[in-house]
Amino acid sequence: MRVTPFFELESKVGAFFTEFAGWRLPLHFGSAIQEAKNVRKDCSFFDITHMGRVKISGPDSEILLAKVFSRVLRKDGKGLYGFLVSSDGRTIDDTVIFKKNSQEFIAIFNSARKDEDIKLLEDEIRNLRLKVEVIDISDESVFVAVQGPKSALKISEFFDNLGVNINIPASRFSFTDNGEIFISRTGYTGEDGFEIIVPAGFAQKIWDALMKAGIPPAGLAARDILRLEAGLILYGLDLKESDTPFGSHLERFVDSEFERIAVLKEKFRNNPSFLKGVIFESLPIPQHGDRVYPEGFVTSAVFSAILRKPIALVRFKQNIAEQEVVKAETRGKVIYGTVVSLPFVRSS
């Protein structure tokens, strides 16, 4: 089991750990609900060192990304959310890729998918004889996400505490990279926030600087509540290789110029399914895989800290309209829910 450079520090402040994708990571620091609420009204940080960070560089980088990435990265200093897609239309991962310039990119991958992602890139490089280098920089750095409406205010204080002078990215999905520190205005909570990659040796200094800036840690349980409230998918549960972004509220993350859009559309036509948000009226919280009627199944669910009800993403066989009532079977009980538009919770 791997641990991040923050492990001892997290233990000291009472983290309860869980296993996730081969890592031992903090599940919560006492109360996931309180941690989620703090992100909605103030700001907290998540240790996301387990996530993959990969540098893509070389003269043919744009040719490679045009083949495999569902978005077209036009502007330097900007990132975009999209999907890695194989030639046969499998959705390999969801990712944010940042463009430094036409020859240098940084990609963020799900930790459980990193090896598959790199393999896809390497295969394309070999097949097309491209001049591109893919370097996994995950092990030499730590990765933290500072999230919440007060992030912008407190992140300046954080960098002051660290004695680092860096431009804070001003707009969503923009980023700064000074060669040592990478900071992007992105996140996975539906709130304003930043994701920061810093050299691994800095863990203690980063921790101290966060504490001094009044940014407390939050765990994976809070992260799961927040991302689901924001209607953001978790690859592996809500979206798998065999699913396509179509019918899943994700069409806007596939640009029309993307060559493999055709094979994705064909796959969707042959085997359509529709991912929808459902608010359930009562407990129990349904679990991944629970059956839903009309025909479908729960892909992920959690108890919403804000709505005080179970919320779920459900993959239906047919397109179910908003406001329609559906029922789920969980642990021998029947619960009723309503299909709603996403996100479940709008950012503060």
Binding site: M1, S11, G14, A15, F16, E19, A32, A221, Q287, F303
Partner: protein
């Protein structure tokens, strides 16, 4: 490594319940380790008073933000009381797993069953092993 509270005056089960024996009766709940592993508890279905239960039988369920867990009875007996406060304040189990967060009270059917339960020292060892093994 942080410590979990394991009071010396209780007995424990492998499923992380505790039992406090007082004569022919006993109070039961879930341990500090159990409540922390569940995270925030949002609903407790308290057991029906008067029900006869066997050792290791499911007494009730606890729902946390993410999952549902069964609570097993540490011994056989009759349920003579249940903590009604948990209906409106399920997080009492998080705040006070051994006091205000107690779940049910049993009239013990067979006190010899208590011998099979885990002593505090062994329970601490059990948690340590779980934490190391993960």
């Amino acid at each position: 490594m942080k410590k979990y509270e394991v009071p010396d005056n209780l007995l424990y089960t492998k499923e992380h319940e505790w039992i406090k024996v007082d004569g022919d009766k006993a109070i039961c709940g879930i341990t500090d380790y159990a409540q922390k592993s569940l995270s925030d508890i949002v609903f407790v279905e308290t057991p029906e008073i008067g029900r006869e239960i066997k050792k290791n039988e499911v007494v009730c369920t606890i729902e946390s933000v993410k999952s549902v867990s069964d609570v097993y009875s540490p011994t056989s007996g009759k349920i003579v009381d249940a903590n009604e406060r948990l209906k409106n304040e399920p997080d009492l189990i998080n705040k006070s797993p051994y006091e205000d967060g107690w779940i049910f009270k049993l009239e013990l059917a067979d006190k010899s069953e208590l011998e099979d339960l885990i002593k505090p020292e062994e329970y601490r060892e059990l948690i340590r092993k779980i934490e190391e093994g993960r």
